[in-house]
């Protein structure tokens, strides 16, 4: 637990103004994420999850508090300063994809790698690996509008991982996926995490959250729980009798 944390947030606050009325969305969050750690953020809708990760990625301006990424103070950066930091260090998967409409899937995924300084060949190889893992090889030359919601969501994930960012931030990355596609995403996340990828991800999906090293729960803009999952007590002969009960 030593070394420079990937993220350090200190007393982070976000208050939106909605028709002149202040809406406190995040109310004093302290959070530290170690390099290489996988943290899942859960909580009811409206609890501030999206606002939190948007602030951590510089996509929403904090009202007060500090954000440090990789040891660098980030909340005081200008918009262009954030853009540069993101390009170098952060991959972001939005709840609503934000793919570039007039570029193919392949170009959408290669672009961040190229912007991050990869050679065209490295960018292509990375793209082929990512689309392959997500079952999208066949869709490489399609335009985003030709894809289903679930396909777009997986392309957004591939794009976020294209330049091997120090930090992956994702907002409900499996929200539009069926069970089989979720499995592909889980496999890819666990693969990149094993190779050292730091991940902070908002999810309702218990399968996704259960892969995390730590789960942070929000309620009304505050952290109400933060901890590693307990190692389940070993059950006899590897069964999960608590969960499965077939009658007849």
């Amino acid at each position: 637990m030593t070394g420079t944390p990937a993220i350090k947030a200190i007393n982070l606050v976000k208050i939106y103004q909605s028709g002149g009325v202040p809406v406190p969305a995040v109310r004093g969050i302290d959070m530290r994420v170690e390099s290489g750690e996988f943290v899942a953020i859960m909580g009811p809708s409206g609890s501030g999850k999206s606002t939190l990760v948007h602030m951590l990625g510089g996509l929403d301006v904090r009202t007060s508090g500090e954000i440090w990424l990789d040891g660098t103070r980030a909340d005081t950066l200008s918009e262009s300063g954030w853009a540069l930091l993101r390009r170098r260090k952060v991959g972001f998967v939005f709840q609503f994809f934000n793919l570039v409409a007039n570029m193919t899937v392949a170009d959408n995924v290669e672009l961040p790698a190229l912007l991050g300084g990869a050679t065209p060949r490295q960018a292509r190889e990375r793209r082929e690996y990512l689309l392959g893992e997500l079952g999208l090889t066949e869709r490489a030359s399609a335009a985003p509008a030709q894809l289903s919601g679930g396909e777009q969501q997986r392309v957004a994930l591939a794009r976020a991982l294209a330049n091997q960012p120090r930090l992956l931030l994702a907002d409900e990355p499996t929200g539009n996926l069926d069970s089989r596609n979720t499995k592909d995403v889980l496999r890819l996340l666990s693969d990149v995490h094993r190779k050292g990828q730091t991940i902070v991800l908002v999810t309702h999906d218990a399968r996704v959250a259960s892969m995390a090293d730590r789960v942070v729960s929000l309620l009304d803009g505050e952290i109400v729980d933060d901890g590693a999952l307990p190692r389940a007590r070993r059950r006899p002969a590897g069964t999960v009798g608590d969960v499965v009960e077939l009658r007849g």
């Binding site: 909580g43 259960s210 389940a232 590897g238 009798g241 969960v243 499965v244 007849g248």
Partner: protein, 168 residues
Amino acid sequence: MRLPLLALLAKEPAHGYELKHALEKTFGSAYPSPNIGQIYVTLGRLEKDGYVRAVDVEQSNRPNKKVYYLTAVGREALENWVDEPTEGPRVRDEFFMKLVLAPLTGIADRMALVNRQRRHYLSLMRDLNELAEQTDPGNRVALLLIEGAMLHLQADLDWLERCQEELP
């Protein structure tokens, strides 16, 4: 366990251990496999009710084994079981009772109960993930059983979230 045993015996006569293995092989490791004692007790009851009969089969250097087969009455019971609609799931949640009642007594705080339960559900989910990975990809029945357990667990977690929102 009566009807699954009748169903297996409708396929072919078998002795107790064969039935145990057939259940394990079909449903995989997510299914809490019954012990052989339970199986023999159930077979004994089915025999008493006239649903199955047993014949002794001699074995060369071991004690005789009892092979069970289905009777006409047993087949009819099985057909009735298959024909009936099956009860849906019912909420019979011990945790919910704790959540509602414990704070009234001052023994526990709701937030702490919910947080502990969430962690528990997620660790069960992690077990199910591991189990799914270890399961033979060809065993569709076992994988569907695990997926069903996961979906139920997800519903429990969603409900937990609703409880946290609604109960002060």
